[in-house]
Protein backbone atom coordinates (compact mmCIF):
# COMPACT_ATOMS: atom_id res chain seq x y z
CA UNK A 1 0.00 0.00 0.00
CA UNK A 2 1.84 3.09 -1.17
CA UNK A 3 1.77 6.02 1.18
CA UNK A 4 1.10 9.37 -0.28
CA UNK A 5 2.85 12.29 1.34
CA UNK A 6 1.13 15.57 0.84
CA UNK A 7 3.56 18.39 0.30
CA UNK A 8 2.25 21.89 0.82
CA UNK A 9 1.67 23.95 -2.29
CA UNK A 10 4.66 26.21 -2.89
CA UNK A 11 3.95 29.59 -1.46
CA UNK A 12 5.37 32.78 -2.86
CA UNK A 13 6.24 34.52 0.32
CA UNK A 14 6.04 38.29 0.13
CA UNK A 15 9.47 39.84 0.27
CA UNK A 16 9.90 41.79 3.47
CA UNK A 17 11.33 45.23 3.01
CA UNK A 18 11.74 47.95 5.54
CA UNK A 19 10.39 51.13 4.09
CA UNK A 20 10.45 53.07 7.31
CA UNK A 21 11.16 56.76 7.27
CA UNK A 22 14.02 56.08 9.71
CA UNK A 23 15.67 53.79 7.16
CA UNK A 24 15.39 56.39 4.43
CA UNK A 25 16.80 59.07 6.73
CA UNK A 26 19.70 56.85 7.71
CA UNK A 27 20.49 56.21 4.04
CA UNK A 28 20.32 59.91 3.21
CA UNK A 29 22.63 60.72 6.13
CA UNK A 30 25.12 57.98 5.20
CA UNK A 31 25.58 58.91 1.62
CA UNK A 32 25.88 62.21 -0.14
CA UNK A 33 28.14 61.96 -3.14
CA UNK A 34 27.92 59.96 -6.31
CA UNK A 35 30.70 57.35 -6.41
CA UNK A 36 30.09 55.69 -9.75
CA UNK A 37 28.06 56.85 -12.72
CA UNK A 38 27.58 55.20 -16.06
CA UNK A 39 26.42 56.91 -19.20
CA UNK A 40 24.89 54.85 -21.99
CA UNK A 41 27.12 51.85 -21.39
CA UNK A 42 26.83 49.11 -23.99
CA UNK A 43 28.90 45.94 -23.90
CA UNK A 44 29.44 43.80 -26.96
CA UNK A 45 30.90 40.36 -27.43
CA UNK A 46 32.02 40.61 -31.02
CA UNK A 47 28.87 41.62 -32.87
CA UNK A 48 26.50 40.47 -30.16
CA UNK A 49 25.16 43.13 -27.83
CA UNK A 50 25.21 41.79 -24.27
CA UNK A 51 24.22 45.01 -22.48
CA UNK A 52 22.59 48.05 -24.05
CA UNK A 53 22.61 51.70 -23.03
CA UNK A 54 22.75 51.48 -19.27
CA UNK A 55 22.92 54.78 -17.41
CA UNK A 56 22.78 54.87 -13.64
CA UNK A 57 24.50 56.39 -10.63
CA UNK A 58 25.70 54.70 -7.47
CA UNK A 59 25.95 56.65 -4.23
CA UNK A 60 29.01 56.54 -2.04
CA UNK A 61 28.75 54.25 1.01
CA UNK A 62 25.67 52.49 -0.27
CA UNK A 63 24.81 49.04 -1.50
CA UNK A 64 23.38 48.74 -4.98
CA UNK A 65 21.86 45.41 -5.96
CA UNK A 66 21.68 44.39 -9.61
CA UNK A 67 18.86 41.88 -10.07
CA UNK A 68 17.27 40.25 -13.07
CA UNK A 69 16.95 36.96 -14.92
CA UNK A 70 19.94 34.95 -16.20
CA UNK A 71 21.40 36.49 -19.33
CA UNK A 72 20.21 40.01 -18.56
CA UNK A 73 23.82 41.20 -18.50
CA UNK A 74 24.10 42.21 -14.83
CA UNK A 75 27.39 40.37 -14.24
CA UNK A 76 28.78 41.65 -17.51
CA UNK A 77 27.77 45.17 -16.50
CA UNK A 78 29.38 44.74 -13.07
CA UNK A 79 32.66 43.71 -14.67
CA UNK A 80 33.00 47.00 -16.54
CA UNK A 81 33.46 48.90 -13.23
CA UNK A 82 36.93 47.32 -12.75
CA UNK A 83 37.47 46.60 -16.44
CA UNK A 84 37.56 42.84 -16.01
CA UNK A 85 35.84 42.68 -19.39
CA UNK A 86 39.23 43.64 -20.84
CA UNK A 87 40.28 40.04 -20.22
CA UNK A 88 37.57 38.59 -22.44
CA UNK A 89 38.75 38.36 -26.04
CA UNK A 90 36.37 40.16 -28.37
CA UNK A 91 34.55 42.08 -25.65
CA UNK A 92 34.19 45.84 -26.10
CA UNK A 93 32.57 48.50 -23.95
CA UNK A 94 31.01 51.70 -25.25
CA UNK A 95 29.89 54.69 -23.22
CA UNK A 96 31.31 56.14 -20.04
CA UNK A 97 31.94 54.60 -16.65
CA UNK A 98 33.01 57.25 -14.18
CA UNK A 99 34.63 56.64 -10.80
CA UNK A 100 34.62 59.89 -8.81
CA UNK A 101 33.92 61.68 -12.07
CA UNK A 102 36.87 60.17 -13.93
CA UNK A 103 36.12 57.99 -16.95
CA UNK A 104 37.74 54.62 -16.30
CA UNK A 105 37.35 53.55 -19.91
CA UNK A 106 40.00 56.00 -21.11
CA UNK A 107 43.00 54.25 -22.64
CA UNK A 108 45.49 55.97 -20.35
CA UNK A 109 43.78 54.75 -17.17
CA UNK A 110 45.91 52.24 -15.25
CA UNK A 111 43.77 49.14 -14.75
CA UNK A 112 46.12 48.09 -11.98
CA UNK A 113 45.32 51.25 -10.01
CA UNK A 114 41.63 51.03 -10.94
CA UNK A 115 41.39 47.46 -9.65
CA UNK A 116 43.08 48.43 -6.42
CA UNK A 117 40.38 51.04 -5.85
CA UNK A 118 37.58 48.82 -7.14
CA UNK A 119 37.93 45.35 -5.62
CA UNK A 120 35.98 42.28 -6.63
CA UNK A 121 34.57 39.19 -4.94
CA UNK A 122 33.67 36.34 -7.26
CA UNK A 123 30.78 33.92 -7.33
CA UNK A 124 32.85 30.90 -6.41
CA UNK A 125 35.21 31.52 -3.50
CA UNK A 126 38.68 31.47 -5.10
CA UNK A 127 41.39 31.78 -2.45
CA UNK A 128 44.91 31.21 -3.73
CA UNK A 129 46.47 27.89 -2.74
CA UNK A 130 48.57 29.73 -0.18
CA UNK A 131 48.36 30.22 3.56
CA UNK A 132 45.58 32.39 4.95
CA UNK A 133 48.16 35.05 5.75
CA UNK A 134 49.61 35.07 2.24
CA UNK A 135 46.14 35.26 0.71
CA UNK A 136 45.37 38.47 2.57
CA UNK A 137 48.88 39.85 2.10
CA UNK A 138 48.80 39.17 -1.65
CA UNK A 139 47.54 42.57 -2.80
CA UNK A 140 49.73 44.69 -0.49
CA UNK A 141 52.81 42.60 -1.32
CA UNK A 142 52.29 43.13 -5.04
CA UNK A 143 52.32 46.84 -4.32
CA UNK A 144 55.71 46.50 -2.67
CA UNK A 145 54.61 46.30 0.96
CA UNK A 146 57.05 43.87 2.52
CA UNK A 147 57.41 45.32 6.00
CA UNK A 148 56.60 42.41 8.25
CA UNK A 149 55.03 44.42 11.04
CA UNK A 150 52.83 46.41 8.71
CA UNK A 151 51.71 43.26 6.90
CA UNK A 152 50.88 41.57 10.20
CA UNK A 153 48.78 44.53 11.18
CA UNK A 154 47.06 44.77 7.80
CA UNK A 155 46.24 41.08 7.70
CA UNK A 156 44.80 41.26 11.21
CA UNK A 157 42.58 44.30 10.57
CA UNK A 158 41.41 42.95 7.22
CA UNK A 159 40.47 39.58 8.70
CA UNK A 160 38.74 41.29 11.60
CA UNK A 161 36.70 43.46 9.26
CA UNK A 162 35.76 40.40 7.24
CA UNK A 163 34.62 38.74 10.50
CA UNK A 164 37.04 35.86 10.05
CA UNK A 165 39.85 36.69 12.49
CA UNK A 166 38.59 34.74 15.48
CA UNK A 167 38.16 31.59 13.43
CA UNK A 168 41.60 31.61 11.82
CA UNK A 169 43.95 33.62 14.05
CA UNK A 170 45.68 30.53 15.45
CA UNK A 171 46.86 29.08 12.17
CA UNK A 172 47.25 32.03 9.86
CA UNK A 173 50.50 30.83 8.38
CA UNK A 174 50.07 27.11 8.69
CA UNK A 175 46.63 26.66 7.17
CA UNK A 176 45.92 26.91 3.46
CA UNK A 177 43.12 29.21 2.37
CA UNK A 178 41.68 26.21 0.59
CA UNK A 179 41.37 24.26 3.84
CA UNK A 180 38.61 26.60 5.06
CA UNK A 181 34.87 26.01 4.62
CA UNK A 182 33.09 27.63 1.68
CA UNK A 183 31.68 30.47 3.76
CA UNK A 184 35.04 31.11 5.42
CA UNK A 185 36.76 31.06 2.03
CA UNK A 186 34.40 33.74 0.77
CA UNK A 187 35.08 35.88 3.84
CA UNK A 188 38.80 35.31 3.23
CA UNK A 189 38.29 36.59 -0.33
CA UNK A 190 36.56 39.66 1.10
CA UNK A 191 39.43 40.17 3.57
CA UNK A 192 41.86 39.85 0.67
CA UNK A 193 40.05 42.66 -1.13
CA UNK A 194 39.84 44.82 2.00
CA UNK A 195 43.60 44.53 2.45
CA UNK A 196 44.13 46.44 -0.78
CA UNK A 197 42.17 49.34 0.77
CA UNK A 198 39.57 49.68 -1.98
CA UNK A 199 36.81 52.29 -2.22
CA UNK A 200 34.34 50.14 -4.12
CA UNK A 201 33.70 46.41 -3.73
CA UNK A 202 32.01 44.52 -6.55
CA UNK A 203 30.34 41.27 -5.59
CA UNK A 204 29.23 38.86 -8.27
CA UNK A 205 26.65 36.58 -6.61
CA UNK A 206 28.97 36.21 -3.62
CA UNK A 207 26.68 33.89 -1.68
CA UNK A 208 25.20 31.72 -4.40
CA UNK A 209 27.60 28.86 -3.68
CA UNK A 210 27.14 29.08 0.10
CA UNK A 211 24.79 27.52 2.64
CA UNK A 212 22.09 29.70 4.28
CA UNK A 213 24.03 30.33 7.48
CA UNK A 214 27.15 31.45 5.61
CA UNK A 215 24.94 33.54 3.33
CA UNK A 216 23.50 35.42 6.30
CA UNK A 217 27.00 36.05 7.65
CA UNK A 218 28.07 37.52 4.32
CA UNK A 219 24.96 39.71 4.28
CA UNK A 220 25.62 40.94 7.81
CA UNK A 221 29.16 41.68 6.79
CA UNK A 222 27.98 43.68 3.79
CA UNK A 223 25.76 45.82 5.97
CA UNK A 224 28.74 46.59 8.19
CA UNK A 225 30.99 47.31 5.25
CA UNK A 226 28.62 49.78 3.64
CA UNK A 227 29.52 52.26 6.38
CA UNK A 228 32.91 52.65 4.72
CA UNK A 229 32.68 51.20 1.22
CA UNK A 230 30.51 51.47 -1.86
CA UNK A 231 29.23 48.00 -2.68
CA UNK A 232 27.66 46.75 -5.89
CA UNK A 233 26.22 43.26 -5.71
CA UNK A 234 24.79 41.04 -8.41
CA UNK A 235 22.33 38.57 -6.97
CA UNK A 236 19.76 36.04 -8.11
CA UNK A 237 18.28 35.97 -4.68
CA UNK A 238 15.65 38.68 -4.40
CA UNK A 239 15.27 38.26 -0.64
CA UNK A 240 18.97 38.97 -0.44
CA UNK A 241 18.66 42.09 -2.56
CA UNK A 242 15.77 43.24 -0.38
CA UNK A 243 17.62 42.49 2.85
CA UNK A 244 20.94 44.14 2.12
CA UNK A 245 20.66 46.79 -0.55
CA UNK A 246 19.78 50.47 -0.42
CA UNK A 247 19.10 50.77 -4.12
CA UNK A 248 18.01 48.11 -6.57
CA UNK A 249 18.45 48.07 -10.34
CA UNK A 250 16.36 45.63 -12.32
CA UNK A 251 17.75 44.29 -15.60
CA UNK A 252 16.05 42.14 -18.17
CA UNK A 253 16.59 40.90 -21.70
CA UNK A 254 15.25 42.55 -24.81
CA UNK A 255 13.94 40.50 -27.72
CA UNK A 256 17.39 40.45 -29.32
CA UNK A 257 18.69 39.02 -26.01
CA UNK A 258 20.59 42.17 -25.13
CA UNK A 259 20.34 43.02 -21.45
CA UNK A 260 19.05 46.44 -20.46
CA UNK A 261 18.12 48.37 -17.36
CA UNK A 262 14.36 48.45 -16.74
CA UNK A 263 14.32 50.60 -13.65
CA UNK A 264 16.38 51.63 -10.70
CA UNK A 265 15.24 53.04 -7.38
CA UNK A 266 15.30 52.71 -3.59
CA UNK A 267 15.03 49.02 -2.75
CA UNK A 268 11.91 49.56 -0.62
CA UNK A 269 10.04 51.13 -3.51
CA UNK A 270 11.24 48.65 -6.17
CA UNK A 271 9.96 45.75 -4.10
CA UNK A 272 6.65 47.34 -3.11
CA UNK A 273 5.64 49.83 -5.79
CA UNK A 274 7.71 49.26 -8.92
CA UNK A 275 7.00 51.65 -11.77
CA UNK A 276 7.33 49.06 -14.46
CA UNK A 277 5.14 46.07 -15.12
CA UNK A 278 8.23 43.98 -16.02
CA UNK A 279 9.73 44.63 -12.59
CA UNK A 280 6.54 43.73 -10.82
CA UNK A 281 6.19 40.48 -12.78
CA UNK A 282 9.77 39.54 -11.95
CA UNK A 283 9.72 40.27 -8.24
CA UNK A 284 6.35 38.63 -7.76
CA UNK A 285 7.69 35.47 -9.42
CA UNK A 286 5.60 35.60 -12.56
CA UNK A 287 8.70 35.79 -14.71
CA UNK A 288 12.28 34.72 -14.53
Amino acid sequence: MPTTVAYPEPVLRPIEVTTSQAGADEFAARTQDVKISTDRVSILYGEKVAVRDVSLTIQERSIMALIGPSGSGKSTFLRCFNRMNDLIPGASVKGEVCLDGENVMETDVSVVELRRRVGMVFQRPNPFPMSIFENVAYGPRRRGQNDRRKLDELVETSLKRAALWDEVKDDLRRKSGLALSGGQQQRLCIARVLATDPEVILMDEPASALDPVSTLRIEELMRELREAYTIVIVTHNMQQAARVSDVTAFFTMAEDRAGYLVEVGPTGRIFTRPNERLTEDYISGRFG
Binding site: T4, M84, P89, V112, E113, G119, F122, M130, E134, Y138
Partner: protein, 317 residues
Protein backbone atom coordinates in the same frame (compact mmCIF):
# COMPACT_ATOMS: atom_id res chain seq x y z
CA UNK B 1 -2.95 15.43 -2.29
CA UNK B 2 -2.16 13.01 -5.14
CA UNK B 3 -0.45 13.56 -8.45
CA UNK B 4 -3.03 15.07 -10.73
CA UNK B 5 -1.04 15.79 -13.86
CA UNK B 6 -1.32 12.68 -16.06
CA UNK B 7 1.64 13.79 -18.17
CA UNK B 8 3.96 13.49 -15.19
CA UNK B 9 2.82 10.14 -13.79
CA UNK B 10 4.51 6.79 -14.42
CA UNK B 11 2.57 4.25 -16.46
CA UNK B 12 1.08 1.49 -14.31
CA UNK B 13 2.80 -1.90 -14.35
CA UNK B 14 5.32 -4.01 -12.45
CA UNK B 15 8.05 -2.10 -10.71
CA UNK B 16 11.54 -2.66 -12.17
CA UNK B 17 13.84 -4.66 -9.92
CA UNK B 18 17.09 -3.19 -8.71
CA UNK B 19 18.73 -6.57 -9.24
CA UNK B 20 18.44 -6.30 -12.99
CA UNK B 21 21.52 -4.32 -13.94
CA UNK B 22 21.26 -3.59 -17.65
CA UNK B 23 21.75 -5.95 -20.56
CA UNK B 24 24.35 -8.74 -20.61
CA UNK B 25 26.27 -6.93 -23.34
CA UNK B 26 26.76 -3.72 -21.40
CA UNK B 27 27.88 -5.61 -18.28
CA UNK B 28 30.40 -7.57 -20.33
CA UNK B 29 31.73 -4.42 -22.00
CA UNK B 30 32.07 -2.79 -18.59
CA UNK B 31 34.11 -5.70 -17.23
CA UNK B 32 36.20 -5.86 -20.40
CA UNK B 33 37.01 -2.16 -20.18
CA UNK B 34 38.02 -2.48 -16.53
CA UNK B 35 40.34 -5.40 -17.27
CA UNK B 36 41.84 -3.81 -20.40
CA UNK B 37 42.54 -0.44 -18.76
CA UNK B 38 43.87 -1.99 -15.58
CA UNK B 39 45.95 -4.37 -17.65
CA UNK B 40 47.62 -1.68 -19.76
CA UNK B 41 48.45 0.24 -16.60
CA UNK B 42 50.13 -2.85 -15.16
CA UNK B 43 51.91 -3.45 -18.48
CA UNK B 44 53.71 -0.09 -18.19
CA UNK B 45 54.94 -1.05 -14.73
CA UNK B 46 55.99 -4.52 -15.90
CA UNK B 47 58.03 -3.12 -18.80
CA UNK B 48 59.88 -0.69 -16.53
CA UNK B 49 60.36 -3.46 -13.97
CA UNK B 50 61.67 -5.88 -16.60
CA UNK B 51 64.22 -3.39 -17.94
CA UNK B 52 65.48 -2.54 -14.49
CA UNK B 53 65.62 -6.18 -13.45
CA UNK B 54 67.45 -7.29 -16.60
CA UNK B 55 70.24 -4.75 -16.24
CA UNK B 56 70.42 -5.11 -12.49
CA UNK B 57 71.09 -8.83 -12.96
CA UNK B 58 73.43 -8.30 -15.92
CA UNK B 59 75.42 -5.70 -14.06
CA UNK B 60 75.61 -7.78 -10.89
CA UNK B 61 79.27 -8.30 -10.16
CA UNK B 62 80.34 -5.80 -12.82
CA UNK B 63 79.45 -2.51 -11.21
CA UNK B 64 81.83 -1.92 -8.35
CA UNK B 65 83.66 1.11 -7.05
CA UNK B 66 86.56 0.31 -9.36
CA UNK B 67 84.22 -0.03 -12.37
CA UNK B 68 83.28 3.59 -11.88
CA UNK B 69 86.38 5.12 -10.33
CA UNK B 70 89.11 2.90 -11.76
CA UNK B 71 91.58 3.87 -14.42
CA UNK B 72 89.74 4.52 -17.68
CA UNK B 73 90.38 1.81 -20.18
CA UNK B 74 88.67 -0.06 -22.92
CA UNK B 75 90.48 -3.26 -22.40
CA UNK B 76 90.03 -3.73 -18.69
CA UNK B 77 86.91 -3.61 -16.65
CA UNK B 78 86.39 -0.15 -15.34
CA UNK B 79 86.80 3.53 -15.24
CA UNK B 80 83.54 4.85 -16.64
CA UNK B 81 83.59 7.90 -14.38
CA UNK B 82 84.79 10.28 -17.15
CA UNK B 83 81.97 9.08 -19.41
CA UNK B 84 79.45 9.34 -16.59
CA UNK B 85 80.76 12.81 -15.85
CA UNK B 86 80.27 13.80 -19.51
CA UNK B 87 76.65 12.59 -19.48
CA UNK B 88 75.87 14.64 -16.39
CA UNK B 89 77.85 17.62 -17.69
CA UNK B 90 75.95 17.68 -20.99
CA UNK B 91 72.67 17.13 -19.19
CA UNK B 92 73.22 20.08 -16.87
CA UNK B 93 74.46 22.31 -19.68
CA UNK B 94 71.51 21.42 -21.91
CA UNK B 95 68.98 21.91 -19.13
CA UNK B 96 70.53 25.26 -18.23
CA UNK B 97 69.85 26.37 -21.80
CA UNK B 98 66.65 24.53 -22.68
CA UNK B 99 64.60 24.81 -19.48
CA UNK B 100 64.64 28.61 -19.09
CA UNK B 101 64.09 29.09 -22.83
CA UNK B 102 61.31 26.51 -22.87
CA UNK B 103 59.55 28.06 -19.88
CA UNK B 104 59.81 31.58 -21.32
CA UNK B 105 58.49 30.40 -24.68
CA UNK B 106 55.75 28.45 -22.90
CA UNK B 107 54.74 31.58 -20.95
CA UNK B 108 54.58 33.51 -24.21
CA UNK B 109 52.47 30.83 -25.88
CA UNK B 110 50.11 30.40 -22.94
CA UNK B 111 49.79 33.91 -21.53
CA UNK B 112 50.68 36.44 -24.22
CA UNK B 113 50.15 35.05 -27.70
CA UNK B 114 46.62 34.80 -28.96
CA UNK B 115 45.57 32.47 -31.71
CA UNK B 116 47.16 33.92 -34.80
CA UNK B 117 49.40 33.02 -37.70
CA UNK B 118 52.54 33.35 -35.56
CA UNK B 119 51.38 30.89 -32.90
CA UNK B 120 50.09 28.49 -35.53
CA UNK B 121 53.51 28.62 -37.19
CA UNK B 122 55.27 28.12 -33.83
CA UNK B 123 53.12 25.10 -33.00
CA UNK B 124 53.77 23.64 -36.44
CA UNK B 125 57.50 24.16 -35.95
CA UNK B 126 57.37 22.52 -32.50
CA UNK B 127 55.74 19.41 -33.89
CA UNK B 128 57.96 19.26 -36.96
CA UNK B 129 61.26 19.63 -35.11
CA UNK B 130 60.16 17.03 -32.57
CA UNK B 131 59.55 14.52 -35.33
CA UNK B 132 62.75 15.20 -37.29
CA UNK B 133 64.98 12.12 -36.85
CA UNK B 134 67.66 12.91 -34.28
CA UNK B 135 70.44 11.82 -36.62
CA UNK B 136 69.42 14.70 -38.91
CA UNK B 137 69.56 17.15 -36.01
CA UNK B 138 73.01 15.70 -35.29
CA UNK B 139 74.11 16.32 -38.85
CA UNK B 140 72.89 19.89 -38.65
CA UNK B 141 74.88 20.35 -35.45
CA UNK B 142 77.93 18.86 -37.15
CA UNK B 143 77.73 21.35 -40.01
CA UNK B 144 76.95 24.33 -37.82
CA UNK B 145 79.02 23.90 -34.65
CA UNK B 146 81.78 21.49 -35.61
CA UNK B 147 82.52 22.85 -39.09
CA UNK B 148 81.15 26.37 -39.54
CA UNK B 149 81.94 27.57 -36.03
CA UNK B 150 85.23 25.60 -36.00
CA UNK B 151 84.49 24.32 -32.50
CA UNK B 152 85.33 20.75 -33.40
CA UNK B 153 83.56 18.15 -31.27
CA UNK B 154 82.49 19.90 -28.09
CA UNK B 155 80.19 19.49 -25.12
CA UNK B 156 78.69 22.90 -25.87
CA UNK B 157 77.97 21.98 -29.49
CA UNK B 158 76.30 18.79 -28.26
CA UNK B 159 74.22 20.70 -25.74
CA UNK B 160 73.10 23.27 -28.29
CA UNK B 161 72.15 20.58 -30.80
CA UNK B 162 70.22 18.82 -28.03
CA UNK B 163 68.53 22.14 -27.25
CA UNK B 164 67.36 22.37 -30.87
CA UNK B 165 65.93 18.94 -30.44
CA UNK B 166 64.41 19.45 -26.99
CA UNK B 167 63.27 23.06 -26.89
CA UNK B 168 60.05 22.36 -28.83
CA UNK B 169 59.09 19.61 -26.38
CA UNK B 170 59.93 21.73 -23.33
CA UNK B 171 57.99 24.67 -24.78
CA UNK B 172 54.94 22.57 -25.51
CA UNK B 173 54.95 20.93 -22.08
CA UNK B 174 55.48 24.27 -20.34
CA UNK B 175 52.61 25.80 -22.30
CA UNK B 176 50.33 22.93 -21.34
CA UNK B 177 51.34 23.14 -17.69
CA UNK B 178 50.57 26.88 -17.63
CA UNK B 179 47.30 26.52 -19.50
CA UNK B 180 46.16 23.95 -16.97
CA UNK B 181 46.16 26.64 -14.24
CA UNK B 182 42.50 27.66 -13.76
CA UNK B 183 41.53 31.02 -15.24
CA UNK B 184 39.90 31.95 -11.90
CA UNK B 185 43.32 32.14 -10.27
CA UNK B 186 44.45 34.70 -12.82
CA UNK B 187 41.22 36.68 -12.47
CA UNK B 188 41.53 36.71 -8.69
CA UNK B 189 45.05 38.09 -8.89
CA UNK B 190 44.33 40.68 -11.59
CA UNK B 191 41.21 41.85 -9.75
CA UNK B 192 43.41 42.56 -6.73
CA UNK B 193 45.40 45.00 -8.83
CA UNK B 194 48.34 42.73 -9.62
CA UNK B 195 50.02 43.27 -12.97
CA UNK B 196 50.07 40.56 -15.58
CA UNK B 197 53.68 39.65 -14.86
CA UNK B 198 53.05 39.60 -11.09
CA UNK B 199 50.12 37.28 -11.73
CA UNK B 200 52.27 34.95 -13.81
CA UNK B 201 55.18 35.10 -11.39
CA UNK B 202 53.27 34.68 -8.13
CA UNK B 203 50.19 32.66 -9.05
CA UNK B 204 50.45 30.93 -12.42
CA UNK B 205 54.04 29.66 -12.30
CA UNK B 206 53.88 28.25 -8.75
CA UNK B 207 50.69 26.40 -9.62
CA UNK B 208 52.25 25.04 -12.81
CA UNK B 209 55.34 23.59 -11.09
CA UNK B 210 54.22 19.94 -11.14
CA UNK B 211 53.57 20.18 -14.89
CA UNK B 212 56.82 22.03 -15.49
CA UNK B 213 58.72 19.33 -13.60
CA UNK B 214 57.16 16.72 -15.86
CA UNK B 215 58.47 18.74 -18.80
CA UNK B 216 61.95 18.87 -17.28
CA UNK B 217 61.95 15.12 -16.65
CA UNK B 218 60.83 14.21 -20.16
CA UNK B 219 63.33 16.63 -21.69
CA UNK B 220 66.13 15.32 -19.49
CA UNK B 221 65.25 11.77 -20.41
CA UNK B 222 65.85 12.58 -24.04
CA UNK B 223 69.23 14.08 -23.17
CA UNK B 224 70.35 10.99 -21.26
CA UNK B 225 69.14 8.67 -23.95
CA UNK B 226 70.23 10.59 -27.02
CA UNK B 227 73.17 9.10 -28.90
CA UNK B 228 72.58 10.09 -32.51
CA UNK B 229 72.65 13.86 -31.97
CA UNK B 230 75.76 13.70 -29.80
CA UNK B 231 77.62 11.30 -32.04
CA UNK B 232 78.16 14.09 -34.56
CA UNK B 233 78.47 17.02 -32.20
CA UNK B 234 80.21 16.13 -28.95
CA UNK B 235 82.09 13.21 -30.40
CA UNK B 236 82.97 9.59 -29.74
CA UNK B 237 86.11 8.56 -27.98
CA UNK B 238 87.64 6.33 -25.40
CA UNK B 239 87.40 7.30 -21.74
CA UNK B 240 90.30 9.51 -20.83
CA UNK B 241 91.62 10.40 -17.48
CA UNK B 242 90.23 13.71 -16.24
CA UNK B 243 91.97 15.95 -13.79
CA UNK B 244 89.04 17.49 -11.93
CA UNK B 245 91.31 20.12 -10.41
CA UNK B 246 91.96 21.63 -13.81
CA UNK B 247 89.55 24.54 -13.90
CA UNK B 248 91.02 26.14 -17.01
CA UNK B 249 87.86 26.47 -19.11
CA UNK B 250 89.84 27.17 -22.27
CA UNK B 251 91.78 23.93 -22.04
CA UNK B 252 90.32 20.90 -23.82
CA UNK B 253 91.88 18.76 -21.12
CA UNK B 254 89.75 20.30 -18.38
CA UNK B 255 86.62 18.28 -17.53
CA UNK B 256 84.91 21.63 -16.79
CA UNK B 257 85.47 23.09 -20.25
CA UNK B 258 82.44 23.23 -22.56
CA UNK B 259 84.76 23.20 -25.56
CA UNK B 260 86.21 19.73 -25.06
CA UNK B 261 84.97 16.62 -26.85
CA UNK B 262 82.69 14.68 -24.50
CA UNK B 263 81.59 11.10 -25.04
CA UNK B 264 78.44 10.36 -23.04
CA UNK B 265 77.27 7.05 -21.63
CA UNK B 266 74.70 6.44 -24.37
CA UNK B 267 77.20 7.17 -27.11
CA UNK B 268 79.77 5.00 -25.36
CA UNK B 269 77.38 2.08 -25.10
CA UNK B 270 76.45 2.41 -28.76
CA UNK B 271 80.10 2.66 -29.75
CA UNK B 272 81.19 -0.36 -27.71
CA UNK B 273 78.31 -2.41 -28.95
CA UNK B 274 78.93 -1.68 -32.63
CA UNK B 275 82.71 -1.49 -32.76
CA UNK B 276 84.09 -2.63 -29.44
CA UNK B 277 86.62 -5.45 -29.38
CA UNK B 278 87.85 -5.62 -25.79
CA UNK B 279 87.61 -8.71 -23.66
CA UNK B 280 85.17 -7.08 -21.25
CA UNK B 281 82.94 -5.49 -23.89
CA UNK B 282 79.66 -7.09 -22.77
CA UNK B 283 80.30 -6.47 -19.11
CA UNK B 284 81.16 -2.84 -19.69
CA UNK B 285 78.01 -2.37 -21.77
CA UNK B 286 75.81 -3.99 -19.13
CA UNK B 287 77.43 -2.07 -16.31
CA UNK B 288 77.17 1.25 -18.16
CA UNK B 289 73.52 0.58 -19.02
CA UNK B 290 72.75 -0.17 -15.37
CA UNK B 291 74.45 3.05 -14.29
CA UNK B 292 72.53 5.01 -16.93
CA UNK B 293 69.22 3.61 -15.72
CA UNK B 294 70.12 4.30 -12.09
CA UNK B 295 70.97 7.92 -12.92
CA UNK B 296 67.74 8.44 -14.84
CA UNK B 297 65.72 7.08 -11.91
CA UNK B 298 67.63 9.18 -9.39
CA UNK B 299 67.18 12.27 -11.55
CA UNK B 300 63.44 11.73 -12.00
CA UNK B 301 62.78 11.08 -8.32
CA UNK B 302 64.99 14.03 -7.39
CA UNK B 303 63.14 16.33 -9.79
CA UNK B 304 59.78 15.29 -8.33
CA UNK B 305 61.10 15.89 -4.83
CA UNK B 306 62.44 19.33 -5.69
CA UNK B 307 59.14 20.13 -7.41
CA UNK B 308 57.23 19.26 -4.28
CA UNK B 309 59.50 21.35 -2.08
CA UNK B 310 59.26 24.29 -4.50
CA UNK B 311 55.48 24.08 -4.65
CA UNK B 312 55.31 24.08 -0.88
CA UNK B 313 57.69 27.01 -0.56
CA UNK B 314 56.08 29.14 -3.26
CA UNK B 315 52.46 28.54 -2.33
CA UNK B 316 53.11 28.12 1.39
CA UNK B 317 50.38 25.52 1.56
Amino acid sequence: MTASNPAVGRPAGPKPSLRRRGSRGSILADHAATVALWGTGVLVLVILGAIILHFALAAWGVVSPSFILGDPSRTTLGGVLPILWNSIYILVLTMLIAVPLGILAGIYMSEYAGDNIATTAIRFAEESISSVPSIVVGLFGLILFVDDFHWGFSALGGSLALTFFNLPLMTRLAEQALRAVPQEERSASLALGATKWQTIRHVVLPLAIPGLITGVILTAGRVFGEAAVLLFTSGVGTPQHYNFLNFDLTSVASPWSPFRPATTLSVYIWNLNSEGLGAFKTQIIDGSAAILIAIVLIFNLGARFIGRVLTRRLTAA
